[in-house]
Amino acid sequence: MRTTLGALLCSAATMGAAQAQDGVDLEVMHWWTSGGEAAAVGKFAEALDEKTPHSWVDGAIAGGGDTARPVMVSRIIGGDPPAAFQFNHGRQAEELIEAGLLLDLTDVAEAQGWTDIVNPPGLLESCTIDGRIYCAPINIHSWNWMWLSGPAYEKAGLEMPTDWTGFIESAPALREAGVTPLAMGGQAWQQSGAFNNVMAIAIAGPEAWLSVMRDKNADTVLGEDYGRAFEAYAEARDLAQGWSGQDWNQATNAVITGEAGAQIMGDWAQGEFAVAGKTAGEDYGCLPGLGLGAYLQTGGDAFYFPKQDDPAVEAAQKELAALLLSPEVQVSFNSVKGSLPIRGDVDLTTVNECTQKGLDLLAKDQTLPSTEQLVSPDTITQLNDLMTEFWNTPSMTAEDVQARYAEVIADAD
């Protein structure tokens, strides 16, 4: 018995983080583990190590947001939080903020004038609780893209289609050329995101989408617009038969190599094309909003900073927050990541055709909030479960999923 008590006491003592004098080790947790993402994170690490005495301790967690977020949450409420952690824009951190576990960044925001440089302002609003800002948005990712494979269409002897209907027509030819028209990863968030964000907006239209996601109007789901969206989704399911893989970057890789004709994925997929040294327009095509109603959702990532009791660490955290939004870091990070910067006043030096399309849409303010900003994580999990069940149960028809989708929306909060 004595030995157990002894072990506990002495270990607790050594737990206090040994603090270097001024340079602080900042452990940053995130889930950017694919090739392109890892390269982008490297840019952040370089910036922190060069420009500040502090050093970047990488806490990458594999397996996508759904796997990583729980680990971060249990770390924070478990009383041993990292220095900073990545969440998507939206309400994921709502409860953490309400529980007073996160650092208030309003002073840094005012010093750097975040309110006017961040565009669209909606990004800041989603993490502002009664006037205090708790997050540092760092990029804009939008789901609403469809990537087309140059080599696949060459094999099929076709031009890359300009929209969803064109893609549907090109499918049989692709099949003949031994190419799976659509590559879709095996994780729930990919299958569900493709509908909730991309196809719903593109086919059912932004008004219907806002009525469902913002106003939680179940009747709109049962309406004719959403009906067409569900039909298209069922069709997409058939087009995806023939390719099986888990991670999204495996599907992107299939598009790069021409194994698959196209993939519905956010603009973070462009990072993979960059790493593979492909050029937009020739090796791959990009259709914002499936080439139908081109609206971009301003999803993306933001860093949150758990409250620490050590002032030195808090100062370092604020320095990191400011650094993340500084122009140079925004440029270096977003160009490699393939996302759009949150600063309106910065132009990406190397802008390829696809990013330019995105920037134009952003300038024309044809943007919509991301689903995570409108709907609680709990509802998203339910939608994910529903859509992945539909995607993997061929016997389930569009009408079935439409009815159950409406139920989920009915009691969403």
Binding site: M1, T4, I77, Q246, D378, T388, T393
Partner: protein
Amino acid sequence: MAIAEDADRAPGDRPRGATRRPVRLFQNLQAKVAMVPMIFVALVVFLGGTIWTVVHSFTGSGLLPRLNWVGLDQYERLWSSRKWLVSIENLAIYGIFSIVGTLVIGFVLAALLDRKIRFEDTFRTIFLYPFALSFIVTGLIWQWLLNPDLGIQNVVRGAGWEGFAFDPLNNPDLVMYGLLIAGLWQGTGLIMCIMLAGLRGIDEDIWKAARVDGIGVVKTYVLIIIPMMRPVFVTALVLITSGIVKLYDLVVAMTSGGPGISSEVPAKYVMQATFGGQNLGQGFAASTMMLVMVVIILIPWAYLEFGGRRRG
């Protein structure tokens, strides 16, 4: 059995006045202090933890535990959730086949090994080594073996049988049977050893008597030996069922619940809800349901095991 408390005074105690009996609590103080960790674990962690979870399963706690009562909402939501129903169904399928499979294969292998054959030890080592591996390792091994373009299907097709299809992990109806193949591969060894120990415990004369009575080998096993090994079968059954309810690592490693939600299991539902979907209340409700399942399985066994002894 051993020195009960009211035996002579604990050594080292000053002899008290004859009139006052030593206070029972301070008897054998050292023993009681030595047992504090066990008492702490039993009361605080097991008992306290379980009560805490069950109580919180009636609250609406989301990311953080909160005591806002919502009555049976969590349970209603649980039983109306398609994913939970699928995980219960999966657990039933996996459970039944796993119990039957493990017991049958375990017993047959044990019977074969018990026939005084050569190389008995080598065979036993082969059948038991998977048990030493973790479920993660087993899951990954079988994930690759069952992978259509890498594993068995690819090899057999390569060997000429073109139409051969063996890809359970990507077929929602067969995925649980894919898990079963790996589960049996890992779990049967232990049950075989327990059965072998049981078989070796049977008095040799019973075998001779049966032979003299002219009863065939198979009939002897079925009609005489197996009924005699009832307690061993009961123990094996409890072992297998407790393993089934806790099924988690294997699913995470092999199919992570996929394709879609077709290989979801209750333990994974709990983990997903508690830590993933930031909905503690739902997670607590699901884990309470798992507790109920274990209780339903255990009560008959406990009654059989202990009840029997008092009555027998």
